[in-house]
Symmetry: C2
Subunit: 466 residues, 2 copies
C-alpha cells in the first residue's frame, strides 16, 4: 500500500485541472483556497485541504471522475453535510472532495411498494416529511437528521433514537447504485423487501464510509406511518433504578420506539441550562416513546404505568401529540447544556450489551473521578449505545492529556463488558489508533482484502479506517 | 479457477482417511456408502456422493479440518438438516460433508442483554421455545423452523411469514464465530445491538451459503415477547381485492406480524384437501396476524375491521389465542394440498415490489395458461415474496419441458416488475443458470473477488452460486 500512497499527487497538473473543469463546468468545480479549506473539515473539527472540490449532478459525471481518478491515482473524498464526528470526510491525502449535495432529488415515493428512491444529497428529515404526507415512515433518526443527508447516513450506517424498535439505516437500504473506482456503475440489491441473490453487497456498502465506492442512488424501505405516539419521562433515584424501569417495560412485551437514558451528570447539566421537571433526589431519568394506533398507544401507556408501579420512581410525566416535544427538548439540549460543566468536550459513542449499561456507566464515572474529569453519560439505553462525554478544560494544565487517557480507559472498560468502540459514529480518524483493541488482525486482514477488491489502488477515502 | 477445480481429489488417500479418523474418532467420521449417499442430498432432491462425512463437536475440530482441507484442496460442504430447496447442501465436487448437528447447544440466553448465543446445530423452533419461556422472542420463522437449524438459517438468510414486521435472519445476527479456509477463527460483530466498527462482515456471512467460511457460533438478537397475537382470515372476490385489502390495513398505520396471500388456484387446492371456511365466489384470501399487548391487539383488530369495511370482502373470520391455529393450518397445508392439482411441482420463491404483486401473479397465471401447466401462487404478500408453484405431470409428454420453460418465463416477468429471482431460498444449483438474468458481470465479479479473499482455493461449498 505504501508504494501506492506515495504516488498520490502533491498538486494537480494543468491537464488535471483542465479535465476537472471540463467535466464539472462553472461552479461545479472549485479550486480557490477558501472553498477548499471549507470543504476539508467535518464535525470532528479535524481538517485537511484538498486539491479540488467538485459537485456532480449526475451518475455519469461521478463515473467519469472515478475512471480518471483511478488512472491518475487521485484520492477521492465523498462528502455531503459533513456532520461526521470522527473525521470521515477529511481529505487527509488531499485529492478531490466530491460534494454530493448537487444530487439531492427524491426520485420516487411509492406508497404501494413502500419504497423511496433517492439521490444521496437528500436531507434525511426532508425525505421523512415527504413520505409522512403519504402515510409512510422512514424510521432512522440520527440526531443530525435535519442537516445530514441520506448518502451520509448510508455511508456511516447512521442510527438514532428509534433504533431500539426500528433498527438503523442498514435495515432500510434495499438497493444501491454505486460507482466503483475505475468508473464502473453497479447496482446492488433492488426494490424488493426480500432478496437473497448473491452476496449481500448492499449491507457491505452501508457503513463503509466511502472507502469502497461512491453511492449515487439508494432505494429505501418505508413502513406504514404509525397513527400516533406518546412519550413518558420517568425519574429514578439512581442508574440501577433506570435499568430496573427499562426491564419492567420490556418485561410486558412492549418494544418502545425510543428509550433514552440520562445519568446524574446529564441531569446536573440540564438543571443549570433549563427548567427541569424532575424533583430533587432524582439521579437518573428514562425517556420513552411508544407509537402505534391511537388505541394501542393508550393501551401500552397503561401497561407501562402498571409495570413501573413495581419500581421505585421519583416522578413520571406523560406527553402526547405535540405536547411530547417539551420532553424531547430536554434530550436535544444535552449537548449544548454539557458545556455548563466544563468548556471542552471529548465525545464517544460506545455500545455495550444492554444488561451491562449500568455497570459500564459506573465504570466510566469511576474513570472520570480517577482522572479528575467529569463524565456525562446519556443516550440509547434501549440498544446499549451510550454517548459518553468527557468534559474538561484544556486551559487547565494536564486536563487534555487526562481526557485522552480517559478515552482509552473508557474503550478498555467498554470492551471488558463485551461492547464496541462505536455504535453509530464509526472509526474514521478519531479512533483509528484504537481499532486493534477491538478487531483481531485476521478480521482486519479480511476487511483490507475486501477493500482491495473494490478499490485496488486505494483511491476511495484513503487514510481512513472504516 | 478451472486449474484449482481439477485438483480436487477423486478419492481420499489412506493418509487423508487416517487424518479424518484421528480428528473425528468413532462415529464422528463416516465413510460407508449408505451414510455418504444420505449425506449428499437435500430438499431440492438433487444429490451427489461425498468422500467422507464428519461430525465436529468443537470449533477446534472445524479449524483443524479447514486447515487440512486448504492444504489438501479438499472441498468442504457444510450441512445441517438440509432443508435447503436449491441444492445448497449437495457436494457436487465430492469432498467432505461437515454435519454441524453435533454442535447444537444453546450456550446462553440473556434476558437483560436480549441476546442468545447458539451453536449452529440448534433447531430454530427449539431456540424459540427456550427464549419464550423467559419472555423473549426470536422472530425469524421459515416454514422449516421445526426441522431446520440456526446455522442453516444464517447460511441462507432465512425469511418467513413474520418478515413483514420483523425482518429476516440477517436482522437478528449480531455476531458470528467463523472458521475460515486455512483454519483461522474470526469473530465478526459482537453482543451489542449497534456496532459500526469495520466493514459489516456479519451480514456478508449471512446468506453466503457456506461459500466463505464455516459458522461455528452465533450471537442473536432477541426482542421482548409480544403479550399476545390475533389472526384474521379475509376472503376477496379476486387478487386485486386482496391487494386493496392489504393497502387498507397498511393505510391505518398497522404493520401486521404476517400478511399471507392465497390465490384462486391455491384456494382450489385447499378446497379439495380440507374443509375451508370461505364461501363460493372467493377468488383470493388474505391471512393476517397482529401481535402486541392484549389491549393493543384488540384495538388493532377493531381498526383492521373498520379499514376493511371500505373494501369488498366475501367473508372474514378472526382467531385469537390457540384458536388461531386452525386458520394457520390452512396456510401450512398448501404445499401438500397443491399435489391435488397435479403430481409434480416446480417451486420458485420470487419477490417483487409489493405494489406489483397482483400484476406479477396475473402474469404467472398467464404463463401457466400459455404453457398448459397450473400455476399456484401464495406467500408473503406483506413483503412481496411469492411462492410460485408450477404444477405439472411429468408422465405427460412435454410437461417437464413446459414446466422448465415456465420457470424462465416466471423469472423474466419477475425481473420485468423489478423483482428478484429469490426472496428466501437462494440460488444454489437450481437457479445457477439464471443468475445472469438478474446480476450484471460487474456485480458478479465483485462477489467472486470477495469469495477469493475468504477462500482463495475455492474449497468452501464449491460449485455453488450464492
Amino acid at each position: 500500500m505504501d508504494q501506492i500512497m506515495k504516488s498520490y499527487p502533491e498538486k494537480l497538473s494543468r491537464s488535471h485541472i483542465k479535465f476537472l473543469k471540463k467535466l464539472f463546468p462553472d461552479n461545479e468545480s472549485c479550486f480557490d483556497d477558501g472553498t477548499l479549506l471549507a470543504s476539508g473539515v467535518d464535525a470532528s473539527r479535524r481538517h485537511a485541504k484538498p486539491l479540488a472540490l467538485v459537485r456532480p449532478k449526475t451518475t455519469q459525471q461521478v463515473s467519469e471522475l472515478l475512471r480518471w481518478a483511478q488512472q491518475q491515482r487521485v484520492p477521492v473524498y465523498p462528502r455531503a453535510r459533513a456532520t461526521n464526528k470522527v473525521g470521515g470526510c477529511v481529505p487527509v491525502h488531499r485529492g478531490v472532495v466530491v460534494s454530493m449535495l448537487g444530487m439531492d432529488e427524491i426520485l420516487d415515493v411509492d406508497s404501494r411498494d413502500f419504497v423511496a428512491v433517492v439521490q444521496p444529497g437528500v436531507i434525511t428529515a426532508d425525505l421523512q416529511k415527504v413520505v409522512e404526507k403519504q402515510g409512510l415512515f422512514y424510521p432512522p433518526d440520527p440526531a443530525s437528521l435535519k442537516i445530514s443527508t441520506l448518502g451520509g447516513n448510508i455511508s456511516t450506517c447512521a442510527g438514532g433514537m428509534r433504533a431500539v424498535k426500528y433498527g438503523v439505516t442498514r435495515d432500510y437500504v434495499l438497493g444501491l447504485e454505486v460507482v466503483l473506482p475505475g468508473g464502473e456503475v453497479i447496482h446492488t440489491g433492488g426494490r424488493t423487501h426480500k432478496n437473497v441473490v448473491g452476496l449481500d453487497l448492499t449491507r457491505l456498502m452501508v457503513g463503509s464510509a466511502g472507502t469502497l465506492g461512491l453511492v449515487t442512488q439508494a432505494t429505501l424501505k418505508l413502513l406504514p406511518l404509525p397513527e400516533t405516539s406518546a412519550s413518558v419521562l420517568i425519574g429514578f433515584e439512581n442508574l440501577s433504578g433506570c435499568l430496573q424501569g427499562a426491564e419492567a417495560v420490556f418485561g410486558c412485551g412492549i418494544l418502545p420506539a425510543a428509550m433514552e437514558l440520562m445519568d446524574h451528570n446529564t441531569l446536573k447539566a440540564l438543571e443549570i441550562h433549563s427548567d427541569v421537571p424532575w424533583p430533587e433526589g432524582t439521579g437518573g431519568v428514562l425517556l420513552l416513546k411508544i407509537d402505534g394506533s391511537a388505541q394501542s398507544v393508550a393501551a401500552d401507556l397503561g401497561q407501562i404505568e402498571k409495570a413501573l408501579s413495581a419500581v421505585h420512581t421519583t416522578f413520571m410525566e406523560q406527553g402526547t401529540g405535540d405536547d411530547q416535544e417539551r420532553l424531547w427538548e430536554l434530550r436535544r439540549v444535552i449537548s449544548p447544556a454539557a458545556f455548563n460543566l466544563a468548556p471542552d468536550k471529548q465525545g464517544e459513542d460506545v455500545a455495550v450489551p444492554r444488561g451491562s449499561v449500568a455497570k459500564a456507566i459506573e465504570s466510566y464515572h469511576e474513570i472520570g473521578r480517577e482522572l479528575g474529569v467529569t463524565v456525562l453519560c446519556f443516550g440509547h439505553l434501549g440498544d446499549g449505545n451510550i454517548h459518553v462525554s468527557v468534559m474538561y478544560d484544556k486551559l487547565v494544565a494536564g486536563q487534555s492529556e487526562r481526557a485522552l487517557k480517559a478515552k482509552k480507559e473508557i474503550f478498555k472498560s467498554t470492551l471488558f463488558f463485551g461492547g464496541t468502540l462505536s455504535g453509530e459514529h464509526g472509526i474514521g480518524l478519531s479512533k483509528a489508533d484504537y481499532i486493534g483493541m477491538q478487531l483481531a488482525d485476521a478480521e482486519i486482514n479480511i476487511m483490507n482484502g475486501i477493500k482491495r477488491v473494490f478499490d485496488p489502488l486505494n483511491i476511495m477515502n484513503p487514510g481512513k479506517v472504516v
